[in-house]
C-alpha cells in the first residue's frame, strides 16, 4: 500500500492480506501470469556462493520487532521468513506446500490431521520438535494476545491436539477442514523454539539465515545458516534496510547502495525497465483491486443494480489509469490464476446500454452513490475518479469521498455503500472464509447467505479434490452473477534489483513462498 497523494510522505504498507476468519490464512501472492520458469530457465546461470545482499523495504519505524508472530508489514514478513519457517507455505497458485512439515494426512472425517515434521534444526543446533510447534501455535492463539494469525488457527482445538512423537503431531480440529494445510501456511504462523519470548535480542529460528544485528526502523543483518534443512543459502549475509519513501528505495538501488528494492511504483518501473541499469521484476496477480458494494443496503441490495455496476466498469481503462498499466483485468472473481479459480466464465466487459436498462428495471435511474476511497493503497483515488466518470455515462452520479488512510479499513467495514478495496493473495478458500460467510470477520460486502455458507462447509468436508473444485466453482458462479465485489483487476507487485542479483523468482506474488526468498538468490 502506498500513499499516492504525498510523494514526500509515503508510508509503509500493510500486508494486503491476512488471515482472519475461521479458516483464514493469508498470504499475498498469486501469480499466474507470466514469469520465469525458475532461475535456470531465465539464464541466470549457476548459483555462486558468497556476498552480502542489501534489500530495501518500507518498514515500521522504531516500533519494528523481530517477533515473527507480530509480523504485520511486508518488511516484517520478509525478515520473519529469513529467520523462521512455517509448517507450510503457499506456492505460486496459492496451494499449500510442505515446509517444516514433511507430510500431512487427514482421517476420514477430515477433523484430525497427523503432521510429520522433517528433520530440521534451530540456529542453536536444537532439533525442531512437536513441542516447539505446539508452543508456537499456543502462543499465537493466546487469548490474552492479539496476534494476527490467531484467527487463522481458530479451526484447531489446541487443548486436544498433542505430540505423538518427537516429530509428529496430531491436530484435532473443531470441524472438518479439507483445506487444513492452508492453516499451516497461514501468514504469521511461524515456528519458534519452545518457551521463546524475547525476539529482539537474539532470536533463534530454523530459517535459512541466523541473526546478527537489528536496529528497529533502520536495519537488520542476518548471516547464512549452514545447516538449513533445505540447503544453505548462497549469500553470506543479508541486510534489510528500511526506506519508507519509494523514491529513496529507487535512488538507493540506482546509486548502488542496495541490491534489491521492494515495492516500486509502476511509473518507476516503466522508466527503468529494459534500460539495463536495474532489473525490474513484476510479480503478477499480487493484489486484487475492487470496488466493494454492500449487498445488505440500498441501492446494492438489488442484484440488478450490482450487475449494472459490473457492466459499467471499463476494466482496461482502470488498469491503465489507476495502475499505470501494471496489472491484468479482473472478472469479478478473486484469485485469478490460483487453485480452484473458475476461469471458464466469460470475461465481463463494459455494456452501458444493458447497465442502463438494468438500472431502469430496478427503478434506480439517476442513482446517486457515495464512493469511499483513501490514499491507503496505490491507485485507490485514481480508480475512484475514473469509475466516477464511467458511471456518469450510465446516468449514475458518484460522489467520491476521501477518508483517513490510517483507519480506512476499519471505517469501510460496516459504513457506507460503495468503497475501493484491495486484497493481497490468499487461497480462494481463505478469501471466502474471511469475507463471504455469515460469520466472517471482515465481510465488507455484507454477503450473508445460509446456502452459500452451506456450500463452503460442504467443500471443507469433501475429501475428493475434484468434487471440492466443483463446489468452489458453484460458489464462484454465484459470486460472478450477483456478488458484492466488482473485481476489476490484479496489480503487479514490482521489485527492482541490481544487475548482479540472480535467482529472483518472478512467479511468486508478494508474500508467497518464493517471494523475498533470499536463500535462493545469489550475486554475480
Amino acid at each position: 500500500m502506498h500513499d499516492e497523494r504525498l510523494p514526500g510522505l509515503r508510508r509503509r504498507g500493510f500486508l494486503t492480506a491476512t488471515g482472519a476468519a475461521s479458516l483464514g490464512t493469508l498470504a499475498l501472492t498469486g501469480c499466474g501470469g507470466s514469469g520465469s520458469e525458475g532461475p535456470d530457465a531465465k539464464g541466470d546461470g549457476t548459483p555462486k556462493r558468497g556476498g552480502r545482499l542489501r534489500a530495501a523495504f518500507a518498514g515500521g519505524g522504531a516500533s519494528e520487532t523481530l517477533d515473527p508472530h507480530l509480523a504485520n508489514l511486508f518488511a516484517d514478513a520478509a525478515r520473519a521468513k529469513a529467520l523462521y519457517d512455517k509448517l507450510a507455505d503457499y506456492g505460486a497458485d496459492l496451494s499449500a506446500q510442505p515446509r517444516l512439515a514433511e507430510k500431512w494426512e487427514a482421517n476420514k472425517t477430515l477433523d484430525r490431521w497427523q503432521v510429520t515434521l522433517r528433520k530440521a534444526t534451530f540456529h542453536d543446533g536444537e532439533p525442531v520438535t512437536a513441542a516447539d510447534v505446539l508452543y508456537s501455535y499456543r502462543r499465537i492463539a493466546d487469548p490474552q494476545q492479539a496476534f494476527r494469525a490467531k484467527a487463522s488457527l481458530e479451526p484447531i482445538d489446541l487443548d486436544a491436539s498433542r505430540a505423538t512423537g518427537q516429530r509428529s503431531i496430531e491436530f484435532v480440529l473443531k470441524r472438518p477442514t479439507a483445506e487444513f494445510p492452508n492453516v499451516l501456511a497461514a501468514f504469521g504462523a511461524y515456528i519458534v523454539p519452545e518457551n521463546a519470548s524475547d525476539f529482539d535480542k537474539k532470536p533463534i529460528g530454523s530459517g535459512p539465515f541466523r541473526f546478527v544485528a537489528f536496529t528497529p526502523g533502520r536495519s537488520a543483518v542476518f548471516r547464512r545458516y549452514d545447516d538449513y534443512w533445505e540447503g544453505a543459502p548462497h549469500l553470506d549475509e543479508l541486510e534489510f534496510v528500511v526506506a519508507n519513501e519509494e523514491s529513496a528505495r529507487v535512488n538507493a538501488l540506482l546509486g548502488g547502495q542496495v541490491e534489491y528494492a521492494h515495492e516500486l511504483d509502476p511509473t518507476t518501473a516503466r522508466a527503468h525497465e529494459g534500460k539495463g541499469q536495474v532489473e525490474i521484476v513484476r510479480l503478477r496477480n499480487s493484489a486484487m483491486q475492487a470496488f466493494c458494494m454492500k449487498t445488505d443496503r440500498a441501492p446494492f441490495d438489488d442484484k440488478r443494480v450490482r450487475e449494472a455496476f459490473f457492466l459499467i466498469a471499463d476494466r482496461k481503462e482502470l488498469i491503465d489509469g489507476a495502475l499505470s498499466g501494471a496489472g491484468v483485468i479482473g472478472n469479478d472473481l478473486f484469485g485469478r490464476g490460483y487453485e480452484y479459480y473458475a476461469d471458464g466464465l466469460p470475461q465481463r466487459a463494459q455494456d452501458l446500454d444493458r447497465a442502463r436498462s438494468l438500472l431502469k428495471q430496478a427503478g434506480a435511474e439517476n442513482l446517486k452513490v457515495t464512493l469511499d476511497t483513501s490514499a491507503v493503497a496505490a491507485g485507490f483515488t485514481e480508480a475512484a475518479s475514473i469509475f466516477r466518470d464511467q458511471a456518469k455515462k450510465a446516468g449514475i452520479t458518484i460522489d467520491v469521498k476521501m477518508g483517513s488512510k490510517d483507519s480506512y479499513w476499519a471505517d469501510i467495514l460496516d459504513n457506507g455503500t460503495l468503497c475501493c478495496y484491495r486484497s493481497g493473495a490468499m487461497p480462494i478458500e481463505a478469501h471466502i472464509a474471511q469475507r463471504l460467510l455469515t460469520g466472517s470477520t471482515t465481510n465488507a460486502t455484507k454477503w450473508q447467505h445460509k446456502d452459500f455458507d452451506a456450500l463452503y462447509e460442504q467443500a471443507q468436508s469433501t475429501r475428493d479434490k475434484t468434487e471440492r473444485a466443483a463446489v468452489y466453482e458453484r460458489m464462484q458462479r454465484r459470486l460472478y452473477a450477483e456478488g458484492g465485489f466488482l473485481i476489476w483487476g490484479f496489480a503487479d507487485w514490482i521489485i527492482g534489483t541490481a544487475g548482479t542479483v540472480k535467482g529472483v523468482e518472478a512467479k511468486a506474488p508478494a508474500n508467497t513462498l518464493d517471494w523475498a526468498r533470499f536463500d535462493k538468490v545469489w550475486l554475480t
Partner: protein
C-alpha cells in the same frame, strides 16, 4: 540586572505554560484523529474482535482522562511512558531519533551562520550593484524551490548522474558520521531556504543600519568603514536575524520530515510521522514535550541574544 532576571522568570513560566498547552493540544488532536492505535495496527484486517483485543492489551479501553493523567504523573517523575505499539520506552524513541536530527541541525547551522551573514553583509555593502543583484535574485529564486523538488533534483544530478555522492543514507542510520558524504545532500537541502531568508534579513538590516543617523554620526567622527560596518551596524542588523536563526534551529531540531524521508535519515521527524500514523499517543506526546521545551528555550535564547545586541529590541520582548 533584576529587570533581566524577572524577565527571565516570566519567560520561563510562560514557556512552561506554553509547553503544557502544546501537550494538551497535541493529545486532544491525536485523540480527535479517526481511529486509534488498535485500528491502525489492525490495518487491512479490521476484524472487530481483534481490534477490541488489541485495544485491551494496549489499555486503550480506559477513559481518556485516566490515560492522560497516568502519563502526566509519569512525566513528573521524568518517565515519558512506553509506546503503545512496541512497548518500548518513549525516551528510547526520542534518544534514537535525536542523534541524526542533532547531527544534521549542527552541521546545517555551522554552515548557515557564516554563509547567511556573509552573503547578507556582502549584498548590503554593494547595495544596488551587481553583487547585490546577483545575491538577491539567486536567494529569491532558491527560496522559491520547494525542499522536496530541490532534494530530488540534487539526488538526480549529483548522485545518480555524476555519481559524486551517495543518493541516500540508507543503512547508515546508526553511523551517519562514518559516512560524511551521505550528509552532503541533506545538509545542502536544509541550508537552501534558511540561507536565503537569513541573508536577505541581514542585508535589509544592514542597509537600514548603514542609513541610520548614528552611522552617519560615526562617519562624521572619522571612524573607519570596516569598524562602522562590523562594530556598529552589524549588531543592530543581527537582532532580527537572531530571531530568525532561532526559528530555523527550532525547525531543524523538531524534525525535518521531508529531508529525512527523501534521504532515509531516521531522525525525530521520521519518529513523529510513524507515531502519528500508528496513533502511538505516548510517543507523539513525548515528542510534543521535547519540541515544546526546545521551542521555548530557543526563543528565550534568541531574545536574550537580541537583547544583548540591541537593548532597545529587548524591551519589546
Amino acid at each position: 540586572m533584576s529587570g533581566l532576571r524577572s524577565f527571565l522568570a516570566r519567560r520561563l513560566l510562560l514557556g512552561a505554560l506554553q509547553t503544557v498547552a502544546v501537550v494538551l493540544l497535541v493529545f486532544a488532536l491525536t485523540e480527535a484523529l479517526p481511529g486509534d492505535a488498535a485500528v491502525a495496527l489492525a490495518g487491512d484486517q479490521p476484524d472487530p474482535a481483534r481490534i477490541a483485543a488489541i485495544r485491551e492489551t494496549m489499555h486503550l479501553d480506559r477513559p481518556t482522562h485516566e490515560r492522560l493523567a497516568d502519563w502526566a504523573t509519569g512525566l513528573l517523575h521524568g518517565d515519558l511512558g512506553t509506546s503503545l505499539t512496541s512497548g518500548r520506552p518513549v525516551g528510547q524513541y526520542i534518544a534514537d531519533g535525536f542523534g541524526p536530527t542533532l547531527l544534521l541541525a549542527t552541521l546545517t547551522v555551522a554552515l548557515l551562520v557564516p554563509i547567511g551573514f556573509g552573503l547578507g553583509v556582502l549584498a548590503a555593502r554593494h547595495e544596488g550593484r551587481l553583487a547585490d543583484r546577483l545575491i538577491s535574485s539567486a536567494t529569491l529564486a532558491v527560496y522559491a524551490v520547494p525542499e522536496f523538488a530541490l532534494g530530488v533534483l540534487l539526488v538526480t544530478v549529483l548522485a545518480l548522474q555524476l555519481g559524486w555522492l551517495p543518493p541516500t543514507a540508507v543503512g547508515y542510520g546508526t553511523d551517519l558520521l562514518g559516512h560524511p558524504a551521505a550528509l552532503v545532500l541533506p545538509v545542502l537541502v536544509l541550508l537552501s531556504r534558511p540561507v536565503c531568508s537569513l541573508s536577505r534579513l541581514v542585508r535589509a538590516g544592514m542597509i537600514d543600519a548603514l542609513a541610520s543617523p548614528y552611522v552617519a554620526q560615526a562617519r562624521r567622527y572619522g571612524i573607519s568603514g570596516t569598524r562602522i560596518r562590523y562594530a556598529h551596524a552589524l549588531p543592530n542588523a543581527l537582532a532580527p536575524a537572531a530571531q530568525q536563526l532561532a526559528r530555523t534551529i527550532d525547525w531543524l531540531l523538531c524534525g525535518v520530515i521531508v529531508v529525512e524521508a527523501l534521504y532515509v535519515i531516521p531522525g525525530l521527524g521520521t519518529v513523529l510521522l510513524n507515531a502519528v500514523a500508528e496513533r502511538d499517543v505516548p510517543v507523539v506526546q513525548g515528542l510534543a514535550v521535547v519540541f515544546g521545551v526546545l521551542t521555548v528555550v530557543l526563543n528565550l535564547g534568541a531574545d536574550l541574544v537580541a537583547h544583548g545586541l540591541a537593548p532597545r529590541a529587548g524591551a519589546a520582548a
